[in-house]
Symmetry: C2
Subunit: 240 residues, 2 copies
DNA sequence: CAGCGCGGGATTTGATCATATCCTCTGGGC
DNA sequence: GCCCAGAGGATATGATCAAATCCCGCGCTG
């Protein structure tokens, strides 16, 4: 039971509200009225991204149907989507599992990240608004706080939020979408990293990055980003 | 045929061989016994990749159900998968369409391709086997032939096969998967390109690439690849 | 006589379909 | 010009079938 409750969400224990299943739409709000497959997708995505799935772990459709209380079709679609993004793997015989990464895979992910994320930092540097920088500083504070408290999950969430905010500021949806896909791939490995090293000596080039953003130093931002991701991937590699 | 067996089955049971077709696994052959959603996916993927969809064109589930003779669930899953890969776009209000790319999107795709494909060429150069090179020369011959005949579809197919073969030789499945996703995104635009310019002056750095592969010149291969993709993206950009 | 490989059945799980319900868009009436 | 009704299409459900895995008992061998 790695994650009994997903996110302090309204999905309580039983949730046997059968009659209300589809009588909802995004008209009211945006958190509650999403299609079922979207809700399932986001739940599973968060689990992958924040290391709540073990690498190599098997994932069954019907298990998720029972656990999430959703129908079979939405679960199937969410899984298909995650498989297309590389977050999950089709294990041959109609079996789905969380990918188990080796050194070769980590190295490829590193190459891709090194190619894309510094470029995003460069672009963000030119376009970012002061309130975005402020938000990133706030997120970075929460991140440091999570590290101090030794709270792995919060650290991973804040770290992702930090980078996502930066990538959004670059206004390059295709590139940041690609990067999001990369994060999904090494997400499960973060669990292992934090299990091995804890949150003590986690890399943090975020301060340099924020400084570069404030001064509009695009190359400095790119350099800080590259340093950050290389340290992260290095830790994953060592945790193998 | 299952729950709705109200009248004891329509004597022939609409699709008894539908179940038979499932009897084959991927162990025996590749093309025959695949699941329906996989067949639908490949069909649609080929259409996207080879410019048989018009950019901006709307895609309806029921239209594909009627056209392909498949059930609704397989079609939905295939579409969801293609949407996750960026080959199709969710148009907000339950509508799916082929993405319409602008200059900004093309530019991002160019950045990603320039980062990844020369690297794949470099790796392929170190590992490629002589029979792979021979196959690529054969494909390139068919490609030239298609150009001579002015046959756009064949040109696109052979061109894709050429690059796919090279990427496979790099033995970097994650990177080549990413590149495949990029190709899927600009595929529909190729239709416009070929409509505008025909097959006359299509770029072809393939000869240089093969030469570099034969001599083991990794940097030369990377350079040729970069030239090839930049010419291609330039043409798409000009066709806007 | 005990340990081990193997085949057959039972259970789990994935794939597909038909249907019901609801949302969105469009056209006509006031 | 706005509101309402109808049509078309998408989402979701549950049932059902097929296949793969698992488990257990049987026979064989040392």
């Amino acid at each position: 039971m790695q994650a009994a409750d997903t996110q302090g969400g309204p999905a309580g224990a039983a949730a046997p509200d059968d009659g209300r299943s589809e009588g909802e739409k995004q008209g009211a709000g945006q958190g509650a009225g999403l299609p079922a497959h979207e809700v399932v997708y986001r739940t599973l995505r968060a689990r992958v991204l924040y290391g709540q799935f073990e690498p190599g772990q098997a994932v069954t459709i019907q298990g998720l149907v029972a656990e999430l209380g959703a129908g079979m079709t939405p679960v199937r679609e969410a899984l298909r989507r995650l498989m297309a993004e590389g977050a999950l793997e089709f294990q041959g015989n109609r079996r789905i599992s969380v990918p188990l990464l080796g050194a070769a895979e980590i190295e490829q992910l590193l190459v891709a990240r090194r190619a894309l994320e510094p470029e995003l930092a460069r672009r963000a540097c030119a376009r970012i608004a002061p309130e975005d920088i402020a938000a990133m500083e706030r997120i970075d504070g929460a991140l440091d706080d999570a590290i101090r408290r030794g709270h792995v999950h919060d650290y991973l969430v804040e770290n992702h939020k930090f980078h996502a905010r930066l990538n959004a500021a670059a206004e390059a949806p295709i590139l940041s979408g690609l990067v999001e896909g990369l994060w999904l791939r090494f997400g499960p490995s973060l669990r292992v990293v934090c299990g091995a090293f804890g949150t003590r000596n986690l890399p943090d080039m975020h301060k340099d990055l924020i400084t570069a953003l404030k001064t509009g130093d695009a190359e400095g931002a790119a350099r800080a980003m590259q340093g950050d991701l290389e340290q992260g991937m290095e830790m994953i590699l060592r945790a193998l």
